[in-house]
Symmetry: C2
Subunit: 275 residues, 2 copies
């Protein structure tokens, strides 16, 4: 799999800085986020990545379907933006539990996918539903397992799933679910689960190889399922954000070359030293 660097991993870098770092280190893919793309200007961003020969492996993010308003207008705009960028998929975050009604909230995700799928198909954009770690079930994602995500996307053409190591690594059914996903895997994202968790659990992600996740094993499963797309590194980590983008990208290239072998067996929270 080719390497892609998600923009959130080097959140403090500008889009041109990220593109430059990728060019310098031979990285061929980037994962983008709507807000910084909008800040740079959608058309300018599309032109910038195209000129650099980069593929946009994913655009983050649409979704949040579980409230009173399933935000379909905003999601259609996200589809348009993904189309303009030529993104391989638009990542959809399910949304959190509404009114303590998990079953109802999950059903709303399915309904919203049904409403959005034809629009995305017309635009030539593939939608990728992201099952999220159960720690986010209350406030971000009521779809907690890959199997559950596959059930929800099943009825809709052109809709698939994201396999994000952080969200799925703990799942007892992981092996079977990845195999079942097959061609429905539209995006494969990696980072690592480090302990102790930081104060903001959202930022509890280490660089791949620094934590408890068997990324070598998961990558094999995803490859065996037939996935041939990018492996995208998406890390939310304050210490990584402090590092220059160029340094982070170089480190990721090095780690990618090892197939995400653990950096030090049993070692956690190991970040690249500032140069």
């Amino acid at each position: 799999m080719k390497l892609s660097v998600n923009q959130a991993t080097v959140k403090r870098a500008s889009l041109p800085e990220l593109v430059d770092a990728c060019a310098r280190h031979g990285v061929e893919g980037v994962g983008l986020w709507r807000e910084p793309v909008r800040e740079h200007g959608l058309d300018r961003a599309a032109a910038l990545v195209e000129r650099a020969g980069l593929t946009v492996s994913s655009l983050c993010r649409g979704g949040f379907f579980t409230g009173e308003d399933p935000r379909l207008d905003d999601n259609r705009r996200a589809v348009d933006e993904a189309a303009a960028l030529g993104a391989r998929c638009l990542v959809l975050v399910p949304g959190g539990v509404s009114g303590r009604d998990l079953a109802g909230s999950r059903a709303r995700v399915g309904e919203a996918l049904g409403a959005l799928a034809p629009y995305a198909a017309d635009a030539g954009v593939r939608l990728a539903l992201e099952p999220m770690h159960p720690v986010f079930c209350a406030d971000r994602g009521v779809v907690s397992t890959l199997a559950q995500a596959l059930e929800l996307v099943g009825p809709h053409d052109g809709v698939g799933v994201v396999v994000d190591a952080l969200h799925v690594w703990w799942d007892p059914a992981l092996e079977a679910s990845v195999a079942a996903a097959g061609a429905d895997v539209l995006s494969y994202q990696v980072c690592d689960w480090t302990t102790p968790l930081p104060a903001d659990v959202l930022l509890g992600r280490g660089l791949p190889g620094d934590g408890h996740i068997d990324l070598v094993g998961l990558t094999s499963l995803v490859r065996a399922a037939g996935y041939t797309g990018f492996v995208e590194v998406e890390v939310f980590n304050e210490a990584v954000w402090e590092l220059p983008a160029d340094h982070v990208v170089a480190e990721l290239v090095k780690r990618h070359a090892t197939g995400w072998e653990p950096v030090v067996d049993g070692g956690h929270d190991r970040l690249p030293a500032t140069p």
Copy 2:
């Protein structure tokens, strides 16, 4: 179901203070922890709860089976302590992932249960394996779902499971798994999932009724599975710990009487005001 108050809910109260508060408010069960019991003296603690007519609905905790040393000696001591207290069950925490090998770590839990079950049976103590929320998979509990826990305890007589609302509420298979558990449910614990999570995710538990969990629904499932034991309130929450034990127990009695109806629909982080 009768109410039981877990000692951790009023962690800063002494055992006699907890027993007094239960007596004053007509609570018939307590969940105890090994460390404070040891501090009070095991025999004295057993005599104290017996004199007060209290049932020890659970003793926390044994387990942590996944390391190089499965700690069987300490677990046998925990069994002895549970027997001395006449506890309805000994709660077993699985232990976190060892060396990135989830499958191997989970297998170790099964082996340890096999090694411990005959000793517990001889002592007349029932072992209750606790499936834990996946947020704890790395460092505390590799058993992440009730179905997985049932698979592990299945082969062993006298070994069952804990259903703790916090750990299982997000599970898409919850309804089926609770039904399948049936008489294997040895302990039912409640608290609530509140957002935003505090800095220490271990303390992200609200009083039942204050958060996102459908406790009315879960309690129905547990009752329908044939469970007739105590409903034990186990809350780790800094703000609750600041309150006098008597006040907390009174509040729990009030909430228990409503069947754990949400305190305010959609309200979160609502704690009883200090008197």
